[in-house]
C-alpha cells in the first residue's frame, strides 16, 4: 500500500485481510447506481477477503454479502483504510 493524498486509496490497492471505507465511487452513472444498491457507497466498510488464484478478480465482503469485482472496476472505488468496520 503506497500512500496517496490524504490517505486515499483505490479499492484494488487494499491487500486481503484489510478493511476499507468507501469514500467515493467513480465511473458511469449506471455503474455507480448499481454499486450503490449493492452497498459499495460512501461511508460503508468493505472487507477485502481474497484474490482469485490468477490474481483477478478480488473477493470483497460488503454488508455481509460476498462480491467479486475485477481490479479495473475496484480501481474506480476510492477508499480509506480503517482498522474496523464502522457500519452495523
Amino acid at each position: 500500500m503506497k500512500g496517496h493524498n490524504n490517505g486515499e486509496f483505490s479499492l484494488d490497492e487494499m491487500p486481503p485481510g484489510t478493511w476499507a471505507e468507501v469514500v467515493r465511487v467513480d465511473g458511469p452513472l449506471y455503474w455507480r447506481r448499481r454499486l450503490y444498491a449493492l452497498g459499495f457507497r460512501p461511508g460503508v466498510s468493505v472487507y477485502v477477503e481474497q484474490t482469485a488464484p490468477l490474481g483477478d478478480p478480488v473477493q470483497y465482503r460488503v454488508l455481509d454479502t460476498w462480491f467479486a469485482l475485477r481490479r479495473q472496476e475496484a480501481r474506480r472505488i476510492r477508499v480509506r483504510h480503517v482498522s474496523r468496520p464502522s457500519n452495523p
Binding site: R34, R41, E49, L63, D64, T65, F67
Partner: protein, 754 residues
C-alpha cells in the same frame, strides 16, 4: 435449459416483447394476481414452487428464474395467480431479465407484491424492499432463510418491522418449508381483506420536494393512477429512469416529458452537487439503516464461518485451480467412464431382447419385411440411441445441480474469470461452455445468466465448438478404426481442439466481428455455501431428463424414421447410393473433396448429423452394413441361440456392467474411453478402414467436431438471438470446420498419415 414447458403457462406483459400465452387467459382463472419479487439466491423459486405446487430450479443459474413464471394458488376467498419475477438486486436494470421485471412492476396492475427477503442479509435485501414500497402497492414481506439468520445470531423483531414497513412480515424457511404454510394461508386471506399500500419510505426534505415537482409534471398524464403510484414513478424519474416514459406514453408525449424531466434533473444535479440518482440511493440506505436499527439485533460477532473456511480453500491462491480441475476431472470420470458400461448394456438390451421380441411379434402378425425394417431399423434404432444417452446425462445433470445449489458454481466463475477475461468473456461464461460438454442446447440457454447481450451472443456463438457428448461416439468409432493404439489421445485431442477453437473464436468475434457495446461491469455474487437439498435436486434432474427424452428424444426418433424413409425410397431400392438420401449426398460430396473425404457416404453421414450428431455413426452403420448384410436374414425370426445370448445379456450382462463400472470407479481399470471391442461393431470398423485414409479420417473428425452441432442448437440460437445470428452461426461454423478440416488433412498428409 428451456424451462418454459415446466411452468403452467408463461405470461408476458401486454406491452413487452413476445407473447406466449395471452395474459387474459391466465388471469381469468385468478381472483388476485401477485408478483414474487426478490434478489437472486434468496430461495424465491422454492417459495414459488411451494405456493403453486410447481417445481423448478432453486437460485439463478442456467434455466432458473431467467424467465419468469406464473402459477395458481387455489385458496379462499379466491385463487391467487403468483408471478415469479427474475431475481433483482434493485430496480436499476442491467440485464434483459431485470428490465422485464422492472417494466412489469411499473406497468402491470398487480394486486400485491410479495417481497422475498434474505433474513440473514437484511442490510442488502431491504434496499429492494424500499424500492418496492415506493411503488404504491400492497407489499407482503417473506423473511426467508429465517433459520440461517437465527443460526448466525440475528434477532429480528418481526412485529416492529411490520409496523415500519406498513406490510405483513412472515418468517419462512423455503428449504424446510417452515413458515411456508403460514404464508400460504395468510396471503389469500390478506388479499381478501383489500390491503392498503405499503408505507413508502420518508426521505430527506430536498428529495421529497424534487419528487413532488416531478409528480406535478406527470400527474395530468396519468389520471387513472392512484397517487402513491404516481409518487413512485416520479421518484424513479428523478433517478433518471426516463425510459419508463417510452413504455407509458406515445412517442411525442414521452419525448416532451423526458426533456422536461432531464432539465429538472440537471437543476438538482447542480444544486445538490451530485446526481439525484445517487442522492436517492443514499436516502434509501439511510432508511434501511433506520429500519435495521429499530428492529434487528445481531449477537454473533463473526458470521458465516463455514463459508469463509471453505472459501479459504476453494478459492485459495494455490489450491483454487487444482481443486477446480480435480472436481472437473471427477465429474468427467464419473459421467463418461463409469457410466459407459451401462450405456453398452442399454444398447445391448435394445439390440437384443427388445429387438427380438418385436421381430417375434411382427413375424407372428405376418408383417411385410418393409414394416419390420421400419419398426426395428427406424423407430427402435432411434429409441435405443436416445436411451443410451440417459445414464451419462442423468449423472451430469445431477452433478451440475449439486455444484450449483451448493454455491460452488459461483466460485468456478470467480476462479476462472481471469482466463475468460483474456479472450474477452465473462467468468460466468465458463459454466455455459462447460455445460456445452454435455449438450450444446442447454448451454445456449445457460448464456442467459450473463448480463450483457454482447457477452451472451459471443458465448452462445462459440458454444457449438465445444464438443458435446453426442460427438463422442463418432470419435470413438473412428479412433478405434484408425488409431487403435492412441484412442484416448485422439478423443482428448478433439475435446482440446474444440475448446481452443471456441476460445480463439471468442477472441476474434469479440474484437473484430461483433458490435461493441457499452462496457459492462463484472459483478459476481458469491452466495454462502449450504448443503443442497436432495429432494430439490432429485426433482430437478428428473425434470431435465424427461425434458431430454421428450425434446431431444422426439427429434432423434423422428430423424431415424425420416432417414429410414429417405434410404428406402424410391420403394425397393437395393443400393443405398441410388436412394433419395444417396442422391442428395452425392450432390454435396464434391465440396468435401479437398478435405480427403469427398465420398457420397461421408457427405450423407454429415448431412444426417445436421439433425443430431449421434446420428452420424448410425447412418454410417445403415449405409455400410446395409450393403453388407442381407436384409431378410436380419429381419427374420431370431434363432434360439440368438435369444439365449440376448437373455444372458439382460441379467448377467447388467451384473457385468455393474462390476465394470465399479472397477472403473475405483480406478482399477483406467478405462478412459477404452471401449471394449464388443461395444463397437467390428463390421463397421472394417467398412470404415476400407473407405478412408487415416488422414481423411482425422479431417472427418475435425469436421464433425466443428460443424453445426445439430438443428436443436440452431433453434436455440434463433430463439435467443434471432434468425440473423442463427444464420450467421450456421455459416460461421461450417466455414471454420471446412478450413480446419482442410488444414488437418494436409497436416496429416505431411506427417505421412496418407
Amino acid at each position: 435449459m428451456n424451462t418454459r414447458r415446466h411452468a403452467p403457462s408463461e405470461v408476458t406483459c401486454p406491452r413487452c416483447s413476445s407473447v406466449e400465452v395471452p395474459w387474459e387467459t391466465v388471469t381469468q382463472q385468478a381472483a388476485y394476481t401477485v408478483a414474487l419479487v426478490g434478489p437472486p439466491n434468496v430461495g424465491k423459486t422454492s417459495l414459488f414452487n411451494y405456493l403453486t405446487g410447481q417445481f423448478q430450479h432453486v437460485g439463478n443459474w442456467p434455466g432458473k428464474t431467467v424467465t419468469y413464471h406464473a402459477g395458481l394458488l387455489p385458496a379462499e376467498p379466491g385463487p391467487v395467480l403468483v408471478v415469479d419475477l427474475p431475481g433483482l438486486y434493485s430496480l436499476v436494470p442491467l440485464s434483459a431479465e431485470e428490465e422485464l421485471a422492472r417494466e412489469l412492476l411499473y406497468l402491470y396492475p398487480f394486486d400485491a407484491l410479495v417481497n422475498v427477503v434474505d433474513a440473514s442479509h437484511l442490510p442488502r435485501s431491504l434496499y429492494l424492499t424500499a424500492e418496492l414500497l415506493e411503488l404504491g402497492r400492497p407489499v407482503l414481506v417473506a423473511l426467508n432463510m429465517w433459520d440461517v439468520a437465527r443460526r448466525e445470531g440475528i434477532q429480528i423483531d418481526v412485529e416492529r418491522m411490520a409496523v415500519l414497513l406498513g406490510a405483513p412480515v412472515i418468517p419462512t424457511v423455503a428449504r424446510s418449508e417452515e413458515g411456508m404454510k403460514v404464508l400460504q394461508e395468510h396471503l389469500p386471506r390478506w388479499l381478501g381483506e383489500g390491503p392498503a399500500p405499503g408505507r413508502a419510505p420518508r426521505y430527506p426534505e430536498r428529495i421529497q420536494e424534487a419528487r413532488e415537482r416531478l409528480q406535478a409534471l406527470i400527474e395530468p398524464y396519468l389520471p387513472e393512477w392512484p397517487e402513491a403510484q404516481v409518487q413512485g414513478l416520479a421518484l424513479k424519474l428523478l433517478e433518471g429512469q426516463t425510459d419508463l416514459l417510452g413504455k407509458l406514453f406515445e412517442p411525442e408525449t414521452a419525448a416532451a416529458l423526458k426533456a422536461r424531466v432531464e432539465a429538472l434533473r440537471e437543476v438538482y444535479r447542480r444544486t445538490w452537487k451530485e446526481d439525484p440518482a445517487l442522492a436517492v440511493a443514499d436516502a434509501r440506505f439511510g432508511w434501511v439503516e433506520g429500519v435495521l436499527r429499530a428492529s434487528v439485533r445481531t449477537t454473533a460477532p463473526t458470521r458465516f464461518t463455514l463459508t469463509r473456511r471453505l472459501d479459504a480453500v476453494v478459492t485459495h491462491r494455490w489450491l483454487g485451480l487444482p481443486l477446480f480441475f480435480l472436481v472437473m476431472w471427477l465429474v468427467f470420470h464419473l459421467v463418461v467412464n463409469v457410466t459407459e458400461p451401462f450405456i453398452g448394456w442399454v444398447e445391448g438390451v435394445f439390440q437384443g431382447v427388445v429387438r427380438y421380441a418385436l421381430l417375434e411379434v411382427l413375424a407372428g402378425l405376418r408383417a411385410p419385411l418393409w414394416l419390420r425394417s421400419l419398426v426395428v431399423d427406424g423407430v427402435l434404432a432411434g429409441v435405443g440411441s436416445m436411451l443410451s444417452f440417459l445414464p451419462g446425462l442423468t449423472l451430469l445433470y445431477l452433478f451440475l445441480a449439486w455444484l450449483e445449489d451448493s454455491g460452488y458454481m459461483a466460485r468456478v466463475a470467480f476462479v476462472m474469470d481471469r482466463m475468460m477475461q483474456a479472450v474477452g468473456l465473462h467468468g460466468k461464461a465458463f459454466l455455459p461452455l462447460m455445460l456445452g460438454l454435455g449438450c450444446n442446447v442447454p448451454a445456449v440457454y445457460a448464456t442467459r445468466t450473463l448480463e450483457r447481450w454482447q457477452d451472451r451472443l459471443t458465448t452462445a456463438l462459440v458454444i457449438p465448438f465445444v464438443s458435446c457428448s453426442a460427438r463422442l461416439p463418432v470419435y470413438l468409432v473412428f479412433a478405434l478404426a484408425f488409431f487403435p493404439k492412441n484412442t484416448a489421445t485422439v478423443v482428448w485431442g478433439m475435446y482440446l481442439l474444440g475448446f481452443v477453437v471456441a476460445l480463439a473464436s471468442a477472441w476474434v468475434l469479440r474484437r473484430r466481428v461483433l458490435p461493441q457495446g457499452q462496457e459492462a461491469p463484472f459483478l459476481l455474487e458469491l452466495p454462502p455455501y449450504h448443503w443442497p437439498n436432495w429432494t430439490v435436486i432429485g426433482r430437478q434432474v428428473k425434470r431435465q431428463v424427461s425434458a431430454f427424452v421428450t425434446q431431444a428424444g422426439t427429434v432423434i426418433v423422428g430423424v431415424a424414421v425420416v432417414l429410414w424413409f429417405l434410404m428406402n425410397l424410391p420403394w425397393g431400392v437395393e443400393d443405398p447410393r441410388a436412394s433419395w438420401f444417396g442422391r442428395v449426398s452425392a450432390a454435396v460430396a464434391p465440396a468435401l473433396q479437398p478435405l480427403g473425404f469427398g465420398r457420397w457416404d461421408a457427405a450423407g453421414a454429415l448431412l444426417s448429423g445436421f439433425i443430431a450428431k449421434e446420428v452420424v455413426v448410425s447412418t454410417m452403420g445403415q449405409i455400410y452394413l446395409g450393403e453388407m448384410q442381407p436384409t431378410a436374414a436380419l429381419l427374420a425370426r431370431p434363432t434360439g441361440e440368438e435369444w439365449q445370448a440376448a437373455l444372458d445379456h439382460l441379467g448377467p450382462g447388467l451384473l457385468r456392467a455393474l462390476r465394470e463400472a465399479f472397477a472403473r470407479l475405483m480406478g482399477w481399470k483406467a478405462g478412459v474411453f477404452q471401449v471394449g471391442e464388443d461395444a463397437v461393431n467390428a463390421h463397421l470398423l472394417a467398412a470404415l478402414q476400407s473407405r478412408y485414409s487415416p488422414a481423411a479420417a482425422l479431417a472427418f473428425l475435425v469436421f464433425v467436431l466443428l460443424y453445426v452441432p445439430c438443428m436443436a442448437t440452431v433453434a436455440a440460437l434463433q430463439q435467443e438471438f434471432g434468425a440473423r445470428w442463427a444464420a450467421f452461426s450456421l455459416i460461421y461454423q461450417i466455414t471454420v470446420a471446412w478450413v480446419l478440416a482442410w488444414a488437418a488433412y494436409h497436416l496429416a498428409l505431411a506427417l505421412g498419415l496418407g
